[in-house]
């Protein structure tokens, strides 16, 4: 009887899923319903809201000009492995198995500015602190219930967030939680950086399963001479400390106190509103990206009777440009309405 019970318990243990708790494989669409400006057209320069930067991180970010990544040698620099939280591209995830059919790694396909991520599930130890840092870093994973928890180390110095120079050092580490609920995949990244962050930087994003598998697909980054005057000049575009004209962009544009936009950790918490209340008034009207997801005025499908002002962005649309240009689809001359 005792042996039978032990045998039964053994069989039972074998019947409990001990490998992947949830299937993650597939393609996922990024849902850009948070931080759309950053993840769509790109961050405003000088917008460090939501960041817990150290003084050093802030100073480095303020040296940045958007001409910098236009230099030939920086156009294809790999970005942080978890920069997928800030970009408008989809994901493709798959697993790799060992000879015993156990998942040995999860892979998240890269894109033209991000290396493919490998999340080792085979229990291998972390490399020495002196081991090579790579664009993808070194990641291990483990299941915590239906959540895949990942630890990433050995990354390169990169920019994080999107398009405004917020730095991440090669001492950056990430804890990441990937949780799937029905067809939604929530990715939580907790980034720590002893140089540029004063506390962990936490971001959560949602991606949606795409049954048509249209997401992902690694493309090639090509370089081109984007700014002729910089070609072979040896110039490294930058602003000197204290001379970045965009340091007060958020004040000029959105009435925010300068300090509120420059990434101080205290600004991330509700009590910071006590400081804001006496100094902030909303802008009189919305001046940029104001039509939301409605078709821009002048385009097919535009809703009549709305006064939204998209700050001229609609004019960048090829349909509008062809209407305003020479009738042959060429863009209108600058300033021409």
């Amino acid at each position: 009887m005792k042996r039978a019970v032990l045998f039964a318990l053994g069989l039972l243990a074998a019947s409990v899923p001990a490998r992947a708790q949830i299937e993650l494989s597939g393609s996922y669409v990024p849902i850009l319903y948070e931080d759309y400006i950053e993840r769509g057209p790109g961050s405003d320069l000088g917008d460090f809201t939501g960041m817990p930067l150290t003084d050093e991180g802030r100073a480095k970010a303020l040296l940045y000009t958007s001409n910098l990544p236009s230099t030939i040698e920086r156009q294809c620099l790999a970005q942080a492995p978890w920069v997928l939280q800030y970009r408008p591209l989809g994901l493709r995830i798959w697993s790799e198995v060992d000879k015993d059919d156990r998942v040995s790694a999860w892979k998240i396909e890269g894109d033209y500015l991000r290396d493919t991520l490998t999340i080792w599930m085979d229990g291998r130890p972390e490399p020495s602190p002196n081991a090579l840092s790579t664009a993808a870093g070194f990641s291990t994973g483990k299941w915590e219930g239906d959540t895949l928890t990942v630890h990433t180390t050995h990354v390169k110095t990169t920019w994080i967030r999107r398009g405004n120079g917020i730095p991440a050092s090669d001492q950056t580490t990430y804890w990441v939680h990937l949780t799937r609920h029905d067809d939604l995949l929530t990715v939580v990244t907790i980034q720590e950086d002893p140089f540029y962050l004063s506390e962990p930087h936490v971001v959560s994003r949602v991606f949606k399963f795409d049954a048509r598998a249209n997401q992902g697909g690694r493309s090639i980054c090509n370089t081109a001479n984007e700014i002729p005057r910089l070609e072979d000049s040896g110039i490294v575009p930058h602003y000197l400390p204290g001379q970045n004209p965009e340091a007060d962009f958020m004040t000029r544009t959105y009435n925010l106190p300068k300090e509120a936009a420059l990434g101080y950790a205290e600004s991330l918490y509700p009590e910071y509103r006590h400081k804001l209340k006496s100094v902030y008034t909303p802008p009189a009207s919305c001046g940029r990206y104001c039509c939301g997801w409605i078709e821009r005025q002048g385009l097919p499908g535009a809703a009549p009777g709305l006064s939204c002002n998209d700050g001229g962005l609609g004019e960048l649309n090829p349909v509008v440009r062809s209407k305003q240009g020479d009738g042959e689809g060429k863009p209108a001359a600058p300033g021409k309405k």
């Binding site: 039964a8 899923p17 960041m51 219930g145 609920h181 907790i190 949602v206 959105y254 939301g292 409605i294």
Partner: protein, 260 residues
């Protein structure tokens, strides 16, 4: 004999995997509190690291970026008038469940009873009740709502534990799972402080997960979906994260404010 044991125990595991907890000693289902795979109680603070300009302060009228509004939704947003809301006594329009959770808030979560999770906010001093239904819960929340008939800022929320695979207990590990909650019967309100609307037909679905870090930090992550056939083109899907605090020393009650 052994096979019978396997069959009996195995079925129990599978049942747990579908969200049904084991039967209680008295024969009835154990409570939601008793079967909780994680402890959501305590004080939690929203970390405003995303959409800062739209969550920490009131943006300009008409600033609806990121939200998939319908044309009608945009018309209503463009007509926002906080003075009108104040005159109508509707200062709490931005404090209904979908707007409240994106606000700059602290949450105090407690068990009101064995099957009801109470979520209080200092911001606007609102109270949400997550009534666990089905296994481990009392009567259905929708039933409660139908009985009362009244629509409120926080609506009526039904909730359930969704256990992780294997009954929420990994090999030798702790019991794990998440909460799924669905809120209906809300008064029309704002998704954003500047009058971006949702209608009384909106449905607010949330998936709550707890992540415990090696340094002791705990994060409560609320992945949520707002479905509104009136003012949205497609469901508005976002996630929110809250960090656990040691105590309520930073609790800072404020009343509803239609402007800031």
């Amino acid at each position: 004999m052994a096979l019978m044991l396997v069959a009996a125990l195995g079925l129990n595991v599978l049942a747990q995997g579908r969200g049904a907890p084991p039967a209680g000693r008295a024969g009835g289902p154990p409570s939601a509190r008793a079967t909780a795979p994680f402890d959501p109680t305590g004080y939690w603070v929203a970390i405003i690291s995303e959409d800062w300009r739209w969550r920490m302060v009131t943006p300009a009228k008409g600033d609806v970026v990121s939200i998939p509004l319908s044309a009608e939704g945009l018309r209503v947003a463009e007509a926002w008038d906080p003075a009108k809301d104040e005159a109508a006594g509707e200062q709490c329009r931005a404090y209904g469940a979908p707007g409240l959770m994106r606000g700059p808030i602290r949450l105090h979560i407690t068990w009101q009873d064995d099957n009801t999770l109470k979520i209080e906010s200092d911001y606007g001093q609102q109270t949400r009740l997550l009534r666990f239904t089905g296994a481990g819960g009392a009567g259905g929340a929708a039933e409660v709502g139908r009985a009362s008939g009244a629509k409120t800022w926080q609506g009526v929320t039904s909730a359930q534990w969704v256990m992780a695979a294997g009954g929420g207990r990994g090999r030798g590990g702790a019991r794990r799972g998440s909460i799924k909650s669905v809120t209906t019967q809300m008064r029309p309100g704002y998704l954003r402080k500047n009058g971006v609307p949702y209608s009384d037909r909106a449905v607010f679905t949330e998936y709550w997960d707890l992540h415990s870090e090696t340094n002791g930090d705990q994060y409560l992550v609320d992945t949520n979906v707002v479905d509104d056939p009136v003012y949205l083109q497609t469901p508005w899907i976002t996630s929110l994260h809250f960090k656990k605090e040691m105590d309520g020393s930073k609790w800072d009650p404020s009343t509803c404010d239609a402007r800031f």
